[in-house]
């Protein structure tokens, strides 16, 4: 009597709480069943013989996937954790094989080279099938990059309990591809330095979220950690110390680590602002270097900007940017262009002299400077990327293929696309990971974060990438990214401040959930995000708790209206 009713309750619970899957980002097209399937002890992933000379990064990706499946040991987030599934899994069929194959006629390139193509040329689509009867699973794609995305999905299908790795929802049929070609993360390594090991861990975590664009804001006014061939004096004098430097070898290491994980590394050398530290090696190129009070000359200390009206400085900058661009295989290069302080140039005698001698206005000089630097990077095959001020605040001539990052406010998106530029969402009101950390400027106890409040994963996730845009304007949206400006960050809080929050934009721009009802989307996403976050933690990334574990084990129980 009693046991029968208990069984009924158990069945009901399973129906309610069994997630369709724990994949993040949610595949575009997903069909699942209700049949449990165990992973065979001899489970293996093979690359189909039709892929001749499979690239080494694909072999490595297969090995990594096998390791994750073996070591994740993620117990499902339900009351009782994995033990809740013991009965269901007992006697299930076993899965012993996954085969990767490319579509007929597809080129066999490395994941790296596919990932480093221009954003709209990347093919990340894949098909994943897991039959319910234990016969082989398969992933097919048009590119090795697509196979890599499929492998990432596959590793997220499994849970673990008491020596058994299993899933509950076979058969599984997934057809997947990203809604947007740019799903990124910006890291600022200048305000505070991050060793290569931290960058690699971040790239790993990005890859588990199918993020494909690492936006490396590598230098700024505070320090110049990049060792640039031909310009080594900049890091020698501008890095925090000799240990806080990225050598060309480090860069190659980071780029190749990223590439093998389906991530393109776009470097940013922000100009003409955010360059005070260049004065350490080249005082002749910097106006108002460390001028005080800093608040009159910069948005944050120290002041100092490239003397853009000077032909010598323009030539120096163009050479520097070209040299940096050659270090990165990406098709993209960001020349920055945010937060130019006009007062700095008004007060700079050299700049005023240069303007007087040419008869140019400041805006004309900025145009000349920007055209020169963009020409320099185009000469080495790069498409320029700029911050929104270059389009909205200044009268600068930009090639119409230039990508524009909107950061000040999502309200500015419309104005940028109205000018016909391709756009990447990076708005502070949705995607800044540093907001809400309080004021960091000294002697200011009442100071608050300029972009308070903290941007929760829910807030980011509720962003609508095409709000107020016409269909034609919407076509200009390339995607978006979370950003970490590092004034108050370092290796000590890198993982907890980025993860799992940055996963929100990864799913937003892969799965496009906001096409439906957003509060429903947030509600159904949370259990998957918990699971994803716990999985990332199993893999060594210190993702923070989004809620008390009590809530994580009871989907919906801690919702506002529960």
């Amino acid at each position: 009597m009693f046991s029968t009713s208990a069984l009924v309750v158990l069945t009901t619970l399973l129906t309610v709480f069994t997630p369709a899957d724990a994949v993040w980002p949610q595949p575009q097209n997903l069909q699942t069943g209700t049949t449990p399937l165990k992973l065979s002890g001899s489970f293996d992933i093979t690359i189909s013989g039709s892929i001749h000379n499979a690239p080494s990064d694909l072999h490595q990706a297969v090995q990594d996937a096998k390791n994750f499946i073996k070591n994740d040991k993620l117990e499902r987030l339900v009351v009782g954790r994995g033990s809740a599934d013991s009965a269901a899994v007992k006697g299930a069929h076993t899965l012993s094989k996954l085969t990767l194959s490319l579509e007929k006629g597809a080129a066999v390139n490395s994941i790296t080279s596919e990932a480093q193509k221009a954003p709209d040329l990347r093919d990340e689509a894949y098909t994943l099938t897991v039959p319910a009867d234990g016969t082989g699973a398969s992933i097919t794609a048009n590119s090795t990059l697509g196979l890599y995305r499929g492998l990432t999905t596959f590793t997220q299908l499994f849970f673990y309990h008491d020596g058994t790795t299993y899933l509950l929802n076979a058969p599984i049929q997934i057809e997947d591809s990203p809604a947007y070609p740019w799903r990124g993360l910006l890291l600022d390594t200048s305000r505070n330095f991050f060793p290569v090991g931290d960058l690699k861990r971040t790239l790993d975590a990005m890859s588990w979220n199918k993020m494909n664009q690492f936006h490396w804001h590598i230098v700024d006014s505070q320090s110049f950690p990049l060792q640039v061939p031909g310009y080594t004096e900049l890091a020698a004098k501008g890095a925090y110390d000799s240990a806080s430097v990225y050598s060309p070898k480090d860069v190659a290491d980071v780029v190749s680590y990223a590439g093998a994980r389906g991530i393109d590394v776009m470097v940013e050398v922000d100009t003409p602002g955010h360059t005070a530290v260049i004065s350490q090696a080249h005082p002749e190129h910097i106006a108002c270097a460390e001028a005080t009070p800093w608040a009159s000359f910069a948005n944050e200390p120290p002041a100092g900007q490239l003397r853009l009206a000077s032909p010598a400085t323009t030539q120096f900058t163009s050479g520097l940017l070209a040299a940096v661009a050659k270090m990165f295989p990406s098709s993209l290069f960001s020349t920055g262009g945010d937060e130019i302080n006009a007062n700095c140039y008004t007060q700079d005698e050299e700049t005023q002299k240069a303007l007087n001698s040419t008869g140019q206005t400041f805006e004309q000089a900025l145009d000349t400077f920007t055209q020169a630097t963009h020409k320099a990077i185009r000469n080495v095959g790069k498409t320029p990327v700029v911050w929104e001020e270059m389009v909205l605040d200044h009268n600068v001539t930009l090639g119409n293929d230039t990508l524009v990052l909107v950061w000040i406010s999502s309200d500015n998106v419309k104005a940028v696309v109205e000018k016909g530029f391709k756009l990447v969402h990076a708005a502070s009101d949705y995607f800044y990971l540093d907001c809400g950390g309080g004021g960091w400027v000294g002697a200011n106890p009442a100071g608050n974060s300029w972009c308070d409040p903290f941007k929760t994963w829910q807030h980011s996730y509720s962003f609508n990438p095409i709000a107020n845009l016409t269909d034609d304007e919407a076509k200009l949206i390339m995607g978006g990214q979370h950003l970490l400006w590092a004034e108050q960050s370092g290796p000590q809080n890198l993982d907890p401040i980025v993860w799992p929050r940055a996963a929100a934009s990864a799913e937003l721009f892969w799965s496009n959930p906001s096409s439906g009802n957003i509060s429903t989307a947030v509600d159904t996403a949370l259990p998957r995000l918990h699971e994803h976050s716990y999985r990332m933690r199993q893999r060594g990334v210190n993702t923070i708790n989004l809620q008390p574990e009590w809530c994580a084990l009871r989907p919906g129980a801690c919702d506002l209206t529960a």
Binding site: G80, R191, N192, S221, Q222, S223, Y240, E290, T292, W294, A295, E300, P301, P302, G436, G437, G438, G439, W440, V441, G442, A443, N444, P445, A446, G447, D452, P453, F454, T456, Q458, H459, S462, A486, E487, Q488, S489, G490, P491, Q492, N493, I518, S519, V522, D523, L526, I544, N545, L546, Q547, P548, E549, W550, C551, A557, C558, D559, L560, T561, A562
Partner: protein
């Protein structure tokens, strides 16, 4: 050419004079301090000469740790060049060979640091005197107690920088006479919303001891989980803990002894009658409105469930549980909580209403009986009760006049507690809550924000005035204060980074008091460079304290201040 050289010389001497404005490195700042400008190097054969008969083991271990920190901190001075420019000043500097450590009063056997640290609040002696001559002769540390010696050792460790092979100070002779302004300097950690393994707690205790924090307020259980295994009540954790997330009695002993050896008293909190839903898992008979929905009607956060305190059986059970818990902790203090009692929960609880009707008593009367019963039990064990402000201010419960009240809802609530002549520990959310500003954690609420937004920066905590709104006659009621981490959005993953170095701010507020040794008011400007030193030392010692600013600022004291008010020239400026 010549002109420029003279100019450089001039700037250099100005720089040298300004950049060493007394001791930059100590946190919290001692009450009384005199320092010189003579360089002094720690001898490679430096030793600590412990002149205490039958020195307790925890004091001997503290000295071993001090020696290890002196060897391994390896902290370069936070200036451009990280102290390499100091090497010239160290040529021919005298060497300090030893530190002699003695008790001022050798009457009787020295007690352990642990037993001194867990003594009642008013009876602890943390005072010490530390003298470091500039001539290289022996330094001396004297105190009335081993606890005082431990505080002095902590100060001694912070005096030294490393450049090249040298461990040195530029500020000998140094003379410090020090004691805390307030007896209670705490940190609260909630281990119920999310669990923290013992090693995380130990690392936190280490970091606390470096800032001379002496009270670990352990909010060990709550509605979400009950991780404490209590003798005689083991079913509560067995059923109420998250899986594999239990503090056994051995774990508690381990934590208490680790804390004690570091001069820290562990005051445990079993929050009652609210914040107890997890007891339902083992004792449904004692919990009203368990898991009722919508949760918002019955509790401030999910899940609902409170002790049915009107019931004699529940009161009895709770008193027993609290006494059993109290026996696990040597502290003279015990917190029975008492915050956020939800009244609709009891109004809708049939059992509670039945009892009230049967006895003819009001809920308020029952609550008072409940609290008095728990507190009576604690007093029987020699413990002083601590409660959250709500019991006094919201529910008007009569408590004994030695009860300590923690203020949390707002700093302005202290006044009402003082008006009742009760002792106060400041833990106000508007200054000291470490979790504020991290956004909404309740699900399906994309526009929600942290209820106590914004983030409380170290600067904000640092300007807290313990006597704000209190009359002079009430000031003696303030025992101190603590920063607080509620862990809905925290876990081992961000424990260090959300606490440190912020929680050091209140440590100095309550150790140093309102003025610096030179008589000037304590202020965020002069504090920041010292706080940086502590932060970098913490990182060197394995605690993930976060950067407060870009490193550029850390190396240039004052340069990133709002008004550049104390901009200090640095070699970099030339």
């Amino acid at each position: 050419m010549a002109r420029s050289r003279i100019w450089q010389y001039f700037v250099l001497s100005v720089y040298a004079a300004i950049s060493i404005p007394g001791i930059l490195c100590l946190w919290p700042m001692p009450r009384s301090l005199k320092a010189g400008t003579t360089s002094l190097v720690l001898s490679t054969s430096f030793s600590i000469d412990l002149q205490v008969q039958d020195a307790p083991e925890d004091l001997q271990q503290a000295i071993t740790r001090t020696q290890s920190y002196l060897r391994n901190d390896n902290l370069g001075r936070l200036v451009v060049g990280r102290g390499t420019s100091d090497l010239g000043l160290l040529q021919g500097a005298k060497e300090l060979q030893s530190l002699r450590v003695t008790l001022s009063n050798e009457a009787g056997k020295a007690r352990s640091i642990s037993s001194e640290a867990t003594a009642p609040l008013g009876s602890r002696s943390e005072e010490y005197s530390l003298v470091i001559p500039s001539a290289g002769s022996t330094a001396t540390l004297i105190a009335n107690s081993t606890l005082g010696l431990f505080r002095g050792l902590t100060t001694f460790e912070q005096l030294w920088y490393t450049a090249g092979e040298a461990t040195y100070t530029l500020e000998a002779p140094i003379r410090i006479i020090d004691s805390p302004a307030f007896p209670y300097r705490g940190l609260m950690l909630d281990t119920a919303r999310n669990f923290f393994p013992v090693s995380d707690i130990k690392r936190t205790l280490d970091a606390m001891s470096w800032a001379k924090i002496n009270q670990f307020h352990w909010h060990v259980t709550d509605s979400q989980s009950f991780p404490l295994e209590i003798l005689g009540f083991t079913e509560v954790a067995a059923k109420g803990a998250y899986s594999n997330s239990i503090y056994s009695p051995e774990d508690v002993k381990d934590i208490v002894s680790y804390a004690g050896a570091r001069g820290i008293d562990v005051v445990v909190e079993i929050d009652t009658p609210g914040h107890t839903a997890s007891i339902h898992e083992s004792h449904p008979e004692h919990i009203a409105c368990y898991d009722s929905s919508p949760w918002m009607t019955f509790t401030n956060e999910p899940m609902a469930g409170q002790l049915r305190f009107a019931s004699a059986a529940t009161t009895n059970f709770t008193a027993g549980l609290i006494e059993a818990t109290a026996r696990m902790f040597p502290s003279s203090l015990f917190s029975t909580g008492g915050d956020e009692v939800n009244l609709p929960c009891y109004q809708l609880d049939v059992e509670t209403q039945r009892i009230l009707n049967a006895t003819g008593q009001t809920l308020q009367q029952k609550l008072e009986m409940f609290v008095q019963t728990l507190h009576g039990g604690l007093k029987g064990l020699g413990k002083t009760p601590i409660v959250w402000e709500d019991l006094i201010l919201t529910h008007n419960v009569t408590v004994s006049n030695d009860t300590i009240v923690m203020v949390w809802s707002s700093s302005s609530a202290a006044e009402g507690i003082a008006a009742k002549n009760l002792q106060i520990v400041h833990a106000p959310s508007d200054y000291f809550y470490l979790d504020c500003g991290a956004g909404e954690w309740i699900g399906a609420d994309p526009d929600g924000n942290s209820w106590c937004d914004p983030f409380k920066t170290w600067q904000r905590a640092y300007i807290f005035d313990p006597y704000e709104n209190l009359t002079e006659s009430h000031q003696h009621l303030v025992l101190g204060g603590e920063q607080v981490l509620w862990s809905e959005q925290s876990g081992p993953q961000n424990l260090d980074s959300i606490i440190w170095p912020r929680a050091a701010a209140s440590a100095e507020v309550f150790w140093t008091g309102p003025t610096l040794p030179d008589g000037t008011p304590r202020n965020v400007q002069s504090a920041l460079p010292r706080l940086y030193d502590l932060r970098f030392r913490m990182v060197q010692r394995g605690v993930d304290a976060i950067p407060l600013q870009p490193l550029w600022c850390a190396l240039r004291p004052g340069a990133c201040d709002l008004m550049d008010a104390v901009k200090v020239p640095s070699p970099h400026d030339r």
